[in-house]
């Protein structure tokens, strides 16, 4: 046995699995398909605006040739090009006319370096949703199962936020919240007055507004309000695998990391009925090799882990490891997103801000809450992200005028804008599915084929969300509204999840209540693949909590000699 545990993937989930397994004393191997990224040295966060390659703009021909999908990510630019995959190197298939925007980065730390850091708990309502309205199967856990793990991961990761006392987006262990700006405060006041029960709050974001001793010990520092987070943060002021979980794992002395190693499949041993290890293909040499361990954690992101399981074929599991239910690959979800409304907020001409806050506001779900009369045309709900800002020099592009007059005009900030972008819950549907293609990538691995569309409820919910967002902005006094009415294709929310769902019944789910494969007891899947429904909150905090919980459980099973 090479290791006690193997963790595939080093993103948000993999980092947590590594930390928790190492801290329990297990020799742990992290397998990462991308390159090694060094915290600090590989970030461009100390470059001035005028020092960025092409001022941040990716060459147009390169975008066309290599980044057909990734170019659609708002965060992508020359300063973090190395944190996004080249689509030309890492293709996947979708049926014609049914796009899926799979936005991702393959490197040490995964998308923990790219995420927008919004972190919200799920609530009882979310874990009961499937049972209540019959879409999808029941979650095998409830809020009480995960609440202590939310406490645990929040304390370590550092989430700044305000205490609101809402049952449906529960409070957590927060560092001080960042302040709303003048216009956001005004909008908050108007909305909360006009719509009792609705709230506008500062987003709960994974930033150290007041680092704890534990966080400082890991070399993490206070947020400097630069909003350069998408370049990586040398201060370690936002949570990432590189700033937080991997250093914690490293200092135990139990961690081994191998990069440029593409997880090919999980090896199944029919004699023991267990996974015996992982087969990898070397990124550079394309040669195969294997690593063995007592337990295997798949944390390669929802599609990555499912893809690898589908590719793990044996006599026992001809359709993918741990797939006796046939549910593997199915019930893929994202959030209904990429649409919203924004406009101009009159007044406040004498107000501004200083510093760059690295995140915006949040309007938690307010439809179909427990105790409310349910909506008749859709189930579940949606929340809004967004914020207010004053127009800067960029408005000059859309206005006539040249010369001294132009310069003088742009010297002063322009009008305030305020907007909402919508994140809606997407229902789990069997036909939204990942399968293996007959075509292979350059390492000989079958491509994932992703067939996923928004369903009837998803679209109805989207239409209503847009009406609500519009009405709320009008009520708040925002004018000249500009609407993006159409949700983007799934994937665009970058909250892809499901496809190896948890459930009570092994005949209809892949994982049990501990993220442990029903069919293969030493195989755990703790990234978004495990999700049984999608709620409408950003999901990564929930992956963290589930991962830490599963790793502790696996540790207990190992110590008891059960796996």
């Amino acid at each position: 046995m090479d290791f006690d545990a193997i963790v595939v993937g080093s993103g948000i989930s993999g980092g947590w699995a590594a930390k928790e397994l190492c801290e329990q004393g297990f020799k742990t191997l992290v397998i990462e398909r991308g390159q090694h990224v060094q915290h600090g040295a590989d970030y461009q966060d100390f470059r001035n605006l005028w020092e960025l390659d092409n001022r941040g703009r990716m060459p147009e021909d390169v975008l066309d040739e290599d980044y057909e999908i990734q170019r659609q990510c708002y965060a992508f630019n020359t300063a973090n090009q190395h944190l996004f995959v080249k689509d030309s190197d890492h293709p996947y298939e979708t049926p014609e006319g049914r796009p899926f925007n799979w936005l991702r980065g393959y490197h040490l730390g995964g998308r923990s370096l790219l995420w927008a850091r919004h972190s919200y708990r799920w609530s009882e309502m979310d874990f009961e949703a499937n049972l209540r309205d019959g879409h999808g199967i029941d979650w095998p856990i409830r809020y009480a199962d995960i609440a202590p793990w939310y406490d645990y991961v929040e304390r370590f990761a550092g989430i700044s936020g305000s205490y609101e006392g809402l049952d449906h987006v529960p409070d957590g262990q927060f560092l001080p919240a960042m302040d709303l700006n003048c216009v956001e405060s005004a909008v908050k006041e108007k909305i909360e007055e006009a719509y009792p029960g609705r709230k506008l709050l500062m987003g709960r974001i994974a930033h150290l507004t007041e680092p704890t001793e534990e966080q400082k010990e890991l070399g993490r520092g206070q947020c400097q309000f630069r909003n350069l987070c998408y370049r990586g943060c040398s201060y370690g002021a936002y949570f990432s695998s590189l700033s937080a979980t991997l250093p914690a794992a490293e200092r135990t002395g139990n961690l081994t990391i191998v990069t440029d190693a593409i997880g090919h499949s999980v090896i199944y041993d029919p004699a023991t009925g267990r996974a015996s290890g992982v087969r990898v293909v070397d990124y550079n040499t394309k040669e195969g090799r294997t690593y063995t361990a007592k337990v295997v954690f798949l944390c390669a992101s929802a599609i990555g882990s499912t893809h690898m399981m589908l590719n793990s074929i044996s006599e026992q599991f001809p359709n993918g490891i741990a797939n006796s239910s046939g549910a593997l690959g199915r019930y893929l979800m994202d959030h209904v997103s990429g649409f919203g409304v924004s406009g101009t907020m009159p007044g406040f001409a004498d107000k501004y801000y200083a510093g760059k806050r690295p995140g915006g506001i949040y309007v938690p779900r307010f439809r179909n809450l427990p105790g409310q009369t349910p909506e008749t045309d859709f189930v579940r709900g949606y929340g809004f992200q967004g914020g207010g800002a004053r127009a800067d020099w960029r408005r000059g592009t859309y206005q006539a005028g040249v010369g001294a007059e132009l310069k003088e005009r742009l010297r002063t900030p322009g009008p305030w804008s305020f907007g909402f972008s919508i994140f809606g819950e997407m229902l789990p549907r069997a036909e939204n599915r990942i399968t293996l293609s007959r075509n292979t990538d350059k390492w000989g691995i079958p491509l994932p084929h992703i067939d996923c569309t928004l369903g009837d409820n998803d679209l109805k919910l989207a239409a209503r969300a847009l009406e609500d967002a519009t009405e709320m902005l009008e009520t708040a006094g925002v004018v000249q509204l500009r609407t993006r009415a159409e949700p983007a294709p799934p994937g665009h929310g970058i909250h892809e999840m499901g496809s190896a769902r948890m459930g009570r019944n092994p005949r209809e789910s892949v994982l049990n209540r501990w993220n442990q494969a029903h069919d293969v007891p030493n195989l755990f899947v703790t990234d978004g693949a495990c999700m049984t429904s999608s709620a409408c909150q950003n999901p990564s905090l929930t992956y963290m909590a589930l991962t830490a919980r599963a790793a502790r459980h696996a540790g207990e099973l190992m110590k008891e000699g059960i796996v």
Partner: protein, 197 residues
Amino acid sequence: MKRAENKSPEAPIDRRELMRRAVYMVGGAAALAGLEGCSGAEGNVQPQTRGSAGRYFSAIRMDQLRAVIDVMIPATDTPGAIAAGVPEFMDDMMRDWASAETRSQMKAVLDQIDERAIRVGGRSFRRLAPEHQLAVLEGYDAHSFEVWNADYQRFKDLVLLGYYHSEIGATQELRFELIPGRWDACVPLGDMRTWAD
């Protein structure tokens, strides 16, 4: 494909950047002032003189570009686009960033401005007297917004980016802080200038 290609071309950071990293990390925002002197080197582009070709544009095109950009963002109580190296920035962007289509759009804009100059003033833009240049560009700009000339809008966008995200544009004309170190969410505007970013 080699792994290194996936990295940005300048990923191995230079010594100056390493030093800066060390100082900023320890001193935070306060360290900025002390280090000002070492940020200048690559920020201050030396504007080229008339009659020299760029990396992409010919000498004549460069002269025309300089003339247009000088009128669009002139030196006033702060340095303008010429001092900020915007013509050289545009030229670099044509080489390093623009697609063939974008390049021909940008050339088309320069051609359109020249056509107007010849129609109104009887000679190409770069040969007009400054006050006539301003009149021609104002007219062209206003017309472009009336007919929604998307090529010109892209051109203007690049000029503004070139200026306001140059060291001069960001720090002398507007305001810029690499490490604010604070978030003051609601402050009186007073005579504060626009944040560059």
